[in-house]
């Protein structure tokens, strides 16, 4: 059995939260650099240049890449061979939220979390959304996506007809991106969840966005849909050009004979995610 203390988890989550807000994953930076060199539209290209400069400044000056430091969504993968000592906290969820609060304060993240009805601010950037997944034996991994809401607002879910087929799914994805237009801070990342139930499709789309369980059977299809999206001409910032989306990722799960749930989760270019194994 592997034992993990609550102080270790708090320290890990706190660091993950502050680091994720100011350092983008290498793959995100690489895709942005590539698009900067490929973009012909002058305004889009200028914006991509400023984006790259912004990324450097955030790292160097230790400030968040974007003032919308997002809603923290965690995926926790724990195997049966791991015991977490939650100490004074009633549950692992509380331990992770404590790490989130400390990391938000230390990293100067914005308090962007409110009660959904009376809109009063929780004043500590918590709680996060925490999904628990079954891991292998002694596996313990915490993944975080700091989800900006300008792009979250443009995401969509549709319960499609079971006979809609790949064409129908493709239409829905492209329409969702077209409707999003300039609003989600393109160039965007697109996570697509296909199948399961209403909530499963949404969860798949978020996990696809973070590249957690991408279905290798659909690599060609992903490329084709990405190409269609980049043919829309929205461009970086909505200024026109060929850089509308940087990547598209599909995750699937078997579904019911009567249905075809499809969820499209959009991230801005500042796709802040990371994970830590303990």
């Amino acid at each position: 059995m592997k034992k993990i203390s609550c102080s270790k988890i708090i320290e890990t989550v706190s660091l993950l939260v502050s680091e994720t807000s100011r350092v983008l994953p290498e793959e995100v930076k690489e895709l942005l650099k590539k698009s900067f060199f490929h973009e012909d539209n002058a305004l889009s290209r200028k914006y991509l240049g400023i984006i790259l400069e912004n990324i450097e400044i955030a790292e160097k000056e230790k400030v968040p890449v974007c003032q919308d430091t997002g809603l923290a969504v965690f995926f926790v993968r724990q195997g049966a061979g791991v015991i977490v000592d939650t100490g004074e906290f009633p549950s692992l969820e509380d331990v992770i939220n404590e790490g989130l609060r400390i990391g938000s304060r230390k990293g100067y993240l914005r308090n962007s979390v409110v009660d959904p009805v009376d809109r009063s601010n929780t004043k500590d950037n918590g709680p996060g959304i925490i999904h628990f997944l079954e891991g292998r034996k002694e596996e313990f991994e915490i993944s975080l996506i700091a989800k900006g809401f300008g792009s979250e607002n443009t995401s969509a879910l549709r319960m499609m007809s079971p006979t809609a087929g790949k064409e129908g799914v493709e239409c829905f994805i492209v329409d969702t991106v077209r409707n999003a237009g300039s609003l989600p801070c393109p160039p965007i990342f697109v996570g697509v969840g296909i199948g399961g139930s209403f909530e499963k499709a949404a969860l798949l789309s978020k996990s696809a966005l973070c590249n957690m369980g991408r279905d290798s059977r659909y690599r060609d299809w992903e490329r084709q849909v990405l190409e269609k999206i980049n043919g829309l001409g929205i461009g970086a910032g909505g200024f026109g050009g060929r850089t509308t989306a940087l990547d598209l990722r599909i995750e699937t799960f078997p579904t019911h004979i009567a249905g075809l749930p499809v969820a499209v989760n959009i991230s801005c270019w500042a796709h802040r995610h990371g994970s830590v194994r303990l």
Binding site: R22, L43, Y47, I50, I51, E53, N54, I55, I57, A58, E61, K62, V63, P64, V65, C66, Q67, D68, T69, Y108, L109, R110, N111, S112, R119, N121, K123, G148, G150, N153, G181, S182, L183, C185, G237, G238, F239, G240, C268, W269, A270
Partner: protein, 175 residues
Amino acid sequence: MKRNIIFPVKNYKFEDLAAGDEVTISGSIYVARDAAHKNLVRAIEEGEKLPVQIEGGLIYYMGPSPAPEGQIIGSCGPTTSSRMDRYTLPLLELGLKATMGKGGRDSEVASACRKFGAIYLVTYGGCGAYLRKFVKKSEVIAYPELGPEAVYKLDVKDFPALVGIDIKGNNLYNK
């Protein structure tokens, strides 16, 4: 040559600006986003005095991240402007001359810009770390209880932007 606009504007009518032009912003501007707009427009509807002097002014749609120790401001890039579309007309009616954020807006905002001789400016989404260097002073001036959604007054110098909607109602995003 980029036009540098100093806010609040007095006699300048934006006549030389067209959608897509690059400009810079200097002077004193206000910051407000969703919750503050709801408060401002409610105050107008109820005939109350506004906590800000908006005549000739610019409202920047933004909610900054906290300033690290000894610094002026945290990350301070634009938020999605279209959420403020429904609150824009009553403010333009009172003499607000410019708004700034990111992304396209309703055609009603474009019509209102034409009617009131106002402009909509666009700045670089997600680039709050870059944009902070153009902010010289920052203070909360209304609704402090809203935390990151409070109304701020910023002193800016050469803050970069593009004309999103000009006074003829032309829209950068419809080009």
